[in-house]
């Protein structure tokens, strides 16, 4: 069992209690994989799926794709692209913020500026 597989199964099973469309078979169909494969992913018998499949799975289950990708040990392609463009700057930034509390990190997030209107 893995954190990724456990989490996927737990969320899917919870959704299935209210909506039968979240059966293993139907979710597998909607994200474009075989039910047997999704079952193995949930049990942790195989490595987490590709980035694209993980993102589809996250959207299907109403989960944050970045969080599910992190559980799968992956970083989304768009984030990789951002870091590759200015690797020294972003590596430094991430290391600086490693131990920072959430509210300190939120302070460096760029806000939409409100002006005069």
């Amino acid at each position: 069992m893995t954190q990724f597989g456990d989490n996927v199964r737990a969320v899917r099973e919870q959704l299935r209690q209210d909506d039968r469309r979240f059966s293993l078979r139907q979710v597998a169909f909607r994200i474009g994989v075989e039910p047997a494969y999704l079952s193995k992913v949930e049990r942790g018998d195989v490595a987490p799926p590709s980035e694209a499949t993980t993102v589809r799975l996250a959207r299907e289950l109403g989960e944050d794709p970045d969080v599910l990708l992190a559980m799968a040990g992956k970083v989304s392609g768009d984030l990789q692209q951002i870091i590759r463009k200015r690797p020294r700057l972003f590596a430094d930034l991430i290391r600086q913020l490693r131990e920072a509390p959430d509210d300190a990190i939120l302070r460096v997030v760029r806000e939409v500026r409100d002006g005069e209107w």
Binding site: D103, V109, V112, R113, D114, E116, W117
Partner: protein, 334 residues
């Protein structure tokens, strides 16, 4: 604070409560015929792109830069709906205006909330807003038109073409009320349910649509008006968007007729027992885009013939209205 994330405005109030987050997005959609028929809800065709206005300051008129906020591209006569969600189910009061005229009350923008008439929608009860609340259970669709030609609600009600665009403001529920609400609900199952200033775009009233704007079930005292955030969304036409951002604008959406003839669904929403607010008296005097164009002797709106909608999908509180974007660009062949 407001953060721009994946073409969505993400309002966060960590100083009020860790769950106090809501998001507001702007969905591309079909323009329903402006023929005085009441249509069901059209689909979402994906979000309009949003960009920080400050990123393109060098190419903007000063008046736009002073407003702050974000920019969004719309084609002339294109329609939109506003996607409202509160991920954690934290209640919010959200004000929505076009050209600084409230889309619910028809009154000029003020930074506080009013209950009589109600000038805000309540999240998570209200999942979307498609237009101006003209009658109880009926809205007139938001349709982009150039400012200065007499079509926009701003010009029709204030007599001037000064602001254009859209304005939103979010007010979280007071933390203590939220705490009490969570306790009440612990025994129930709760679902969170450029130099061309004269070429500004504004929003005008289009065709009629069946949509209820829900009455505030909590009361004015529930909202924390000491903590609020607001944002001006400047609407740029396609040429301005290209010139400012260097990005191509989205392709024109398919027409309502093409969409319907493909057998694709429209939507009806049932919000349970929630009461709906009455239409704003001020909107009784406004005219729709098609009516104004007719009176001016302008060419009629393109693709405005009545359509027969037979395939509607009923949505409950957790129903998803969104339709995948890719299929439409392929279907429409644009």
């Amino acid at each position: 604070m407001i953060i721009l994330e994946n073409d969505t405005l993400d309002f966060r109030f960590p100083e009020v409560h860790e769950d106090a987050r809501c998001s507001i997005g702007f969905q591309r959609t079909l323009r329903i015929p402006d023929d005085d028929t009441d249509y069901p809800l059209p689909p979402g065709l994906g979000p309009f792109p949003l960009r920080h206005l400050d990123d393109h300051a060098a190419r903007l008129p000063d008046a736009w830069h002073r407003r702050g906020g974000v920019i969004l591209p719309m084609h002339q006569a294109e329609a939109m709906w506003i996607d409202l969600s509160s991920e954690c189910g934290y209640p919010f009061a959200v004000k929505i205006a076009t050209g600084k005229i409230c889309a619910l009350s028809g009154d000029a923008w003020v930074n506080h909330l009013n209950r009589d008439p109600q000038d805000y929608v309540v999240l998570p009860e209200q999942p979307w807003l498609d237009g101006y609340c003209v009658e109880r259970g009926v809205i007139r669709q938001f349709v982009a038109m150039p400012l200065g030609e007499g079509y926009t609600v701003e010009e029709q009600l204030s007599g001037v073409a000064a602001h254009g665009g859209l304005q939103v403001g979010a007010y979280p529920m007071k933390a203590e009320r939220y705490g009490a609400l969570l306790q009440e609900q612990s025994s129930m199952h709760y679902f969170g349910r450029m130099e061309a200033p004269r070429a500004d775009m504004g929003l005008a009233p289009g065709g009629r649509m069946r949509q209820e704007i829900y009455d505030d079930p909590y009361g004015l005292d529930a909202w924390d008006q000491r903590h609020s955030s607001r944002c001006f969304i400047t609407v740029a036409n396609s040429m301005q968007w290209m010139a400012m951002t260097g990005e191509p604008p989205p392709l024109s959406p398919p027409t309502a007729r093409t969409y319907t003839e493909m057998g694709l669904p429209w939507f009806e929403y049932y919000g349970g027992d929630a009461g709906a607010v009455a239409g704003a008296g001020k909107f009784k005097t406004i005219s729709s885009v098609a009516k104004i164009a007719g009176a001016k002797g302008n060419p009629p709106l393109p693709d405005n013939e009545p359509i027969d909608v037979s395939h509607t999908v009923k949505l409950g509180r957790r129903g998803a209205r969104q339709v995948r974007e890719g299929a439409f660009t392929e279907v429409a062949g644009r």
